[in-house]
């Protein structure tokens, strides 16, 4: 058995993982990064729109600062975020964007003079100042008070990912691809690394480390309709969760994006709406301006997704072989804009729909997009429950997003959190010594080998991996999507309990040898169903509507009873999650108030309690 040692093992080589790795390697620590795919194929590279930081360089960003960014983030989270974390984030984002510029990101820059932009389909003029020429510019994104989304044409994630991966190469960090972590090595107190399946040979390997960081991105693939890459399947969450001591934070908090294309659910960027694209119904009429007169198409994504679903329920959807959808119209933006600033959208329309967005409408519908839910950490990125275990990026519930993540805040989070948490890992590693108990290591490997053998021999049963996975995906689409309610959620929980049973009786059809995919899917199936059950039970319990969690039967946001965070534990051998709750935030810099969009009433929290927790800065 191949065994590797390092100071830090980073599971996941997307932006968050590589940023963590860079921070520790810069301080001289020995780092290994693992990834299912070559690092640059990580889902981070799919982000087209951009990343938020209050640089305030461009005309429409003038006067922007970290406080405004902080406020937008907290409001966006519907007061579900940890305000200490949101503050850390907003303050560090500008520094991190500049650092990326130093490392090589070709940010778009301010071009002085007059130019035009569209808002709600109307044309406006702006003038960029001479003195700001060449500074990092920004575009507009949903839910923000100022233009603060830094970008590189239509490929921000790709460009930043290239730069970060180059930086890893420069520092000589070992980034191993086609390696999938399938369990953590731990003794219930301390994490010592991971058991990993090599996706070239199928063999098991052991990675031992003083510190381990899980940066495996989101788990959208447990939904049928998702914008996520096929590798965003919860592997990292599953290995942490199944230790029994690590909770998933706010599992019910899942974001849906308004514009996945029909039928493949590939995302077309929010930039379309930011740059002035509009949403149309079956009569090719705008409707967002009716529901949200002020922000219209630029309201936050959960709000737009909801109104779209509502509008389709009013019979205004477009019927198609794949179900109902609406239209996204970017025709008026013109050829030049579409072929430069929105080139990726242009390509998607061409390659996957066979249409020309200059002349034709794009079929879209709300689709699973982002998991605010994640491995619960404290503000240092340290995972609850296990010493030496950290988490960052979309995989984590560091909790600056609360119940709704603002567009452009997630890519920015990966690098800001990666930097901060990487620094905290360095502090942890300095002077830290540990021992790897060989019995714990060999026990962990033996357990995984047994699981694999059982799956291959069909000892547990003959349930089909893909069929069981489809049942999970459909149950979540039905019960835990944009709108939720008691009866549907109860049914969903019941269904998922049955699916959990089946997931334990899976057997392979193929040999399972080598880079076999069926085996990989089978290994995480039960864990995926558990995640599904956490979402459904968390959502059933939370009898209020907050951010993306929308209960038709409890439309009000209830600060009196639900200003808290769900922690879903899965005790060993259990058949359902054990839900606990904790305070959302140690203090309020911005006491709970109206989000400013999305309507709905608020059941207020006790005023004196809020005041006691409110601080001035």
């Amino acid at each position: 058995m191949q065994t590797y040692y390092s100071d830090l093992l980073v599971i996941g080589a997307g932006l968050a993982g590589e940023r963590v790795a860079v921070e520790s390697a810069q301080k001289g620590f020995d780092v290994i990064c693992l990834s299912i795919v070559p690092a640059r194929r990580s889902h981070s590279s799919a982000a087209q729109g951009g990343m938020q930081a209050a640089l305030g360089n461009c005309a429409k960003g003038e006067g922007d600062n970290c406080d405004i960014h902080f406020g937008d983030t907290v409001r966006g989270s519907d007061w579900g975020c940890d305000q200490e974390v949101a503050r850390l984030f907003a303050d560090n984002a500008p520094i991190e964007m500049r650092r990326l510029a130093h490392w090589g990101v070709p940010w778009n820059r301010v071009v002085p003079g007059k130019s035009f932009y569209f808002k709600g389909g109307e044309k406006f003029e702006k003038v960029e100042k001479e003195e700001n020429e060449g500074l990092i510019t920004a575009r507009s994104f949903g839910g923000t008070a100022k233009w603060r989304t830094c970008y590189t044409s239509d490929g921000t994630g790709h460009a930043v990912m290239c730069t970060m991966d180059n930086r890893c190469a420069e520092l000589g960090i070992n980034v191993f691809d086609r390696k999938e972590a399938i369990s953590l090595i731990h003794d219930g107190d301390t994490c010592m690394g991971a058991v990993v399946r090599c996706l070239r040979t199928g063999e098991l390997e052991v990675y031992l480390s003083k510190a381990t960081a899980i940066c495996t991105g989101g788990f959208g693939r447990i939904y049928k309709a998702t914008t996520n890459a096929v590798i965003c399947d919860g592997g990292g969450h599953i290995i942490a969760h199944e230790t029994g001591v690590v909770p998933i934070g706010n599992p019910e908090s899942i974001q849906f994006h308004p514009t996945g294309i029909v039928p493949t659910d590939i995302l077309v960027t929010e930039g379309c709406r930011g740059d002035g694209g509009t949403l149309l119904d079956v009569n090719e009429e705008r409707f967002m301006n009716i529901y949200e007169p002020e922000k219209a198409e630029l309201a936050s994504r959960d709000v737009v997704s909801r109104w779209m679903t509502h509008h389709m329920r009013q019979g205004k959807g477009v019927k198609s072989a794949y179900g109902e959808h609406l239209w996204l119209d970017i025709r008026h933006l013109g050829d030049k804009h579409i072929s430069t600033k929105l080139r990726e959208v242009d390509e998607i329309c061409h390659h996957f729909l066979g249409i020309d967005p200059r002349k034709q409408l794009i079929p879209v519908r709300p689709t699973q997009h982002y998991t605010m839910a994640g491995i619960r950490t404290n503000k240092d990125g340290a995972v609850y429950g296990l010493k030496g275990l950290f988490s960052a990026g979309e995989a984590a519930c560091w909790d600056m997003h609360g119940f709704n993540r603002l567009g452009g805040n997630s890519l920015a989070e990966t690098v800001v959190a990666g930097g901060i948490i990487g620094g905290k890992i360095v502090e942890f590693l300095e002077g830290y010594e540990t021992r790897f108990k060989t019995s714990v290591v060999s026990e962990a490997v033996k357990k995984q080998q047994e699981r694999i053998d059982n799956l291959i021999s069909g000892r547990n049963g003959t349930e089909n991996v893909y069929a069981v996975r489809a049942e999970l995906q459909e149950a979540l689409m039905k019960g835990c999507f944009v709108f939720r309610n008691g009866p549907d959620l109860e049914e969903c929980v019941e269904t998922l309990k049955g699916v959990l049973e089946k997931s334990r009786k899976v057997g392979l059809v193929s040999s399972g040898a080598g880079a076999n995919f069926e085996l990989g899917s089978a290994l995480k199936l039960e864990g995926q169903v558990r995640l599904g059950l956490c979402i459904a039970t968390g959502a059933l319990n939370r009898t209020e509507s907050r951010g993306s969690h929308n209960r038709e039967d409890f439309p009000a946001r209830n600060d009196r009873d639900w200003l808290n965070r769900t922690l879903a534990y899965w005790p060993e051998g259990a058949d359902e999650p054990d839900l606990k709750y904790e305070e959302t935030t140690p203090y309020f810099e911005l006491p709970p108030g109206d989000r400013g969009y999305g309507g709905g009433s608020i059941i207020e929290a006790d005023k004196t309690e809020i005041e006691a927790k409110t601080i001035k800065r």
């Binding site: 070709p106 778009n108 995302l267 076999n516």
Partner: protein, 245 residues
């Protein structure tokens, strides 16, 4: 209307004792808007769970799914079956090491490329977190981004005659990578530094200029221009070298 598609797919799993390389036939009914992503996944889920292939983003942005489709290297996820005849032959990309069936090891190849091209900004400047960012002309930024759009799918490499003949040939993707740094004012390497990396037969002078690379690049990168640009630049550098200037 609906066709029955006949797939001929290369099969070989080096990790399986009895496996020998061969072509296997599959039949699949075509559905509306079907791509090879949809087709291959259906084949795996409905007919042969052991089938090995790579997809990641399934949206044409990550470069994972390149394979040889009816003789031409391309991205499987953005290939619509309706643009293909009803007989479809799928082979793994040549040049790269085979992992199994349609999956090849592009990761290791490209990582070696980063090392040989030193694919990072070379600068003596130190980042100052308190300072404003250094300015850059927007046109320059866009020019850099144009070259950075490479998704490392490997299509260009596998279409390249030189790369097939000699495994030390850097290939179009690597030369494009160099060009990306040449146009970046933040990179302080001189022409002479670049010459040391690519001014030889493994680099710019090994290229036969037939441009199969540009033809197959799914991102339409201007590989031809870059090769010409570098060859001229390196030609001049070579002359300077010879005359000791």
């Amino acid at each position: 209307m609906s066709r029955n598609l006949e797939f001929e797919i290369f099969r070989y799993n080096p990790q399986e004792k009895d496996s020998v390389p061969h072509m296997q036939k599959f039949i699949l009914d075509e559905t509306v808007n079907m791509t090879l992503f949809i087709a291959l996944n259906r084949l795996r889920e409905e007919q042969d769970p052991g089938l090995i292939f790579d997809f990641c983003c399934r949206a044409g942005i990550c470069g994972a799914c390149a394979m040889v489709v009816n003789g031409r290297p391309r991205l499987a996820c953005q290939t619509k079956t309706k643009d293909l005849p009803d007989k479809i032959t799928l082979l793994p990309l040549p040049v790269f090491k085979l992992i199994g069936d349609l999956s090849v090891d592009t990761g290791v190849w490209f990582r070696e490329m980063y090392q040989s091209t030193e694919s990072w900004i070379h600068t003596k400047k130190v980042f100052d977190p308190k300072a404003q960012e250094e300015r850059m002309d927007n046109d320059v930024a866009e020019q850099i981004y144009e070259l950075e759009r490479c998704i490392e799918c490997g299509c260009c490499v596998s279409a390249c005659g030189t790369a097939r003949m000699r495994d030390d040939f850097l290939g179009a993707a690597a030369l494009n990578r160099i060009a990306r740094f040449v146009v970046d004012p933040r990179d302080q390497r001189s022409d002479k530094d670049y010459f040391e990396i690519i001014g030889n037969d493994e680099g710019i002078f090994g290229c036969m200029g037939l441009l199969a690379c540009e033809d197959v690049c799914p991102k339409n990168l201007p590989l031809q221009n870059q090769l010409g640009f570098l060859r001229r630049k390196m030609g001049i550098t070579a002359i300077k070298e010879i005359f000791g200037k």
